[in-house]
């Protein structure tokens, strides 16, 4: 009797184990940010993928944009990194150096890799091993928006391409003239309202340094002293400080809407590509889109946005890559991105985006990506670089001596690099 019971128990257990194994699905977790439109879209794409791959369960982990870094840190600390994660491109080097990301070329469809724009490849590549660690449908840029009525009043030349961007002399001359135009309270909004806790300051103002012929850090020696505190950088930020002192720049306390707010008090806007949607919605054809000015010998524009990577904790990178490929080719995903004025990071997506196509209102923004885009420094010390620079800019705009603030920022960056033994192999060893 005892033996029979034991046999029945063993058979039942084996059957249950078999059933469980048959029901067990491979779970792939994807961490992302985004507004309700994106959240809903990822859910639908995941459903479609699961329908085509019934043995896979895509689990979506949403983290709000403003708390994404905290969520990422907590995932690292609790060893709960997802299979796929969205990340802000300039932080890629830090994540790869820390060992969180896998090279993804062998997991993502080749046609997608071939479809990436040069800027998209740059934002996803780790400079040490030259491997691609992330891919995105989109990229980003900053352009100079102008209020057509005000520009006509001062007789400003409207540049049509990167090659005929305003020079520094023209730009500052126009700022001075715009300051005197009726209705203009501030000649330019540089979006100080985004504050210094976002990436904005480094992202949007680094091109000014690059155009002046300097950089946040020397990209060969990886030293900030001698680069960020050099004369061209000091001149660049002294110029911006003068704009602030002259009362030409929308102050931080006035928010980010002064270009199109009631009465349109700001005449120009140094704004991200996403700003076009809101400006055009309120001002229609009165919005003029221009390339960023050329302050020195060359123009420069920023790039980089939120892109997708596969983490080293993923036990199923092949399925993760398959889902990423599925997502990046998904028609609804692309259609929604177009509706959000997303800036193309894939050539095939650029062809689907009339806003950025030749003759489109934002064509000049896309032209910048192929001609003058400069990524933020792809170095593991980037979190320190951006925080030190943002703090320095804030101090400079509040009246601090430019040389002093930039020297302190450069020292802070170099100290972090020294504290980490040069982040080998970035130290050249």
């Amino acid at each position: 009797m005892g033996n029979r019971l034991l046999s029945v128990f063993a058979a039942t257990t084996a059957l249950m184990a078999l059933t469980a194994a048959a029901d067990a699905k491979t779970v792939v977790r994807m961490m992302h940010q985004g507004d309700p439109g994106w959240v809903a879209l990822y859910g639908k794409v995941a459903e479609r993928f699961e329908a085509a791959n019934p043995d896979v369960d895509i689990e979506l982990i949403y983290a709000p944009h403003d708390a994404y870094n905290e969520k990422f840190s907590s995932a690292v600390m609790s060893k709960q990194l997802p299979d796929i994660m969205e990340l802000d491109a300039p932080f890629l080097a830090n994540y790869v150096w820390s060992g969180y990301l896998k090279p993804l070329k062998s997991y993502v469809d080749k046609d997608l890799l071939d479809d990436m724009t040069a800027s998209n490849i740059a934002q996803g590549t780790y400079p040490i091993d030259k491997e691609l660690y992330a891919i995105g449908l989109t990229d980003s840029s900053v352009v100079l928006y102008g209020n057509k009525k005000y520009l006509e009043k001062i007789g400003a030349r409207i540049p049509k391409s990167v090659d005929d961007a305003w020079t520094r002399a023209e730009f500052e001359d126009y700022l001075g003239k715009l300051a005197k135009v009726d209705g203009v309270k501030w000649p330019i909004d540089t979006f100080r309202g985004y504050g210094i806790k976002t990436e904005w300051v480094t992202y949007a103002y680094q091109p000014i340094l690059n155009s002046f012929g300097c950089d946040l850090i020397d990209r060969k020696t990886w030293k900030a002293e001698g680069a960020l505190d050099s004369k061209p950088c000091v001149d660049a930020l002294t110029m911006m400080q003068t704009w602030v002192k002259n009362g030409w720049v929308v102050p931080m306390s006035s928010g980010t809407n002064q270009f199109y707010a009631d009465g349109q008090p700001a005449a120009l806007a140094w704004g991200g590509h996403w700003f076009y949607a809101e400006a055009a919605a309120k001002m229609k054809d009165d919005v003029v889109v221009m390339p960023l000015p050329k302050f020195g010998d060359k123009s420069a524009s920023p790039d980089g946005t939120w892109i997708w990577a596969i983490t080293t904790q993923s036990e199923h990178p092949d399925i993760a890559g398959k889902f990423l490929s599925f997502l990046l080719k998904d028609k609804d995903y692309r259609d929604y991105a177009v509706s959000q004025s997303a800036y193309p990071g894939l050539k095939s997506f650029a062809a689907q985006s009339p806003l950025y196509a030749e003759g489109g209102p934002m064509a000049v923004a896309f032209e910048q990506a192929s001609k003058v885009a400069v990524p933020r420094p792809p170095h593991p010390a980037y979190p320190t670089i951006t925080s030190a620079f943002m703090q320095a800019v804030d101090q400079i705009f509040n009246g601090e001596d430019t040389q002093k603030a930039l020297t302190a920022a450069a020292q802070k960056i170099d100290e972090d690099i020294a504290d980490n033994d040069g982040y080998p192999p970035f130290d050249g060893n």
Binding site: D35, V39, L60, S73, S78, D262, W274, Q340, A342
Partner: protein, 292 residues
Amino acid sequence: MSDLALSPRKPAAPLNGYRIVQSISVFVIALVVISPLFMLFIASLKDDRFQILADMGSFRAFWVDNPTLNNFREVGNFAGELAFGRYLGNSLLILFSTVSLGLIINSMAGFILAWGSLPGRALILSLIIALYVIPQESIIMPLLIIVSRAGLSDTFTAQILPFVASPLYTFLFYQFFAQLPKELYEAASIDGASIFRTWWSIFMPLSLPALATVSILMGIEAWNQYLWPILITQTDYARPISVAIATFFGQDSIFWDRAMAASVLMMIPILVFYLAFQRWFISSFVGSAVKG
């Protein structure tokens, strides 16, 4: 009949310079407190998210030409992982569980510290007060690791349990209980009441102001939790409404219209909660002031 009805009404004080300044000050303070809430409500009735931004910083922020409930409808059709009402339900569950358990645990601790025969009471009390100065943010990462290793990630428990015991509320209860007459405790002891019975049947019914104060403060704290639920939850299953509202603040676009409507909806339960307890809450503050 309420106490108020029995109280003789004070004659109105004559209008002098002091009274005018006092009235103006009260009016200005009330305006400062109410105007952001009013602006929030007005913005929730505007259909155009860009117009909301355009109006900010001017008096138009306090006026709506064509009020609409569209934003509330959009929030109702929230396209997140869960329905918006479910997030609201999650928040209410977290709120009531945290407050109920918190009242019991903290009042028990406060009572024992005030009247119990615990050895080293003074030292324990000093340690509890010392704990209060440690900001929650500084322990969030160790707490995260403890809760994750306990296998509680992604649960309601993870959002309730760590916040039930609080040095501040234990101290508040201790302070309140310690001020009650010693005779109450002695009479209960003579009558043979256990310490649990004395706490529950004698001291707790006399502690409505303290209970209300702790309920309100703890409720607001639990309701406004934002970072912790993001860190400790992976899926939306147990996430509160504050995290759902954050969805409206995207990378490139902020849906001010829906965020405002959702914020109005988020405010309603906590306002009701406050109104339910505010009578005792205020009397607790007045009492504290009188007792010095």
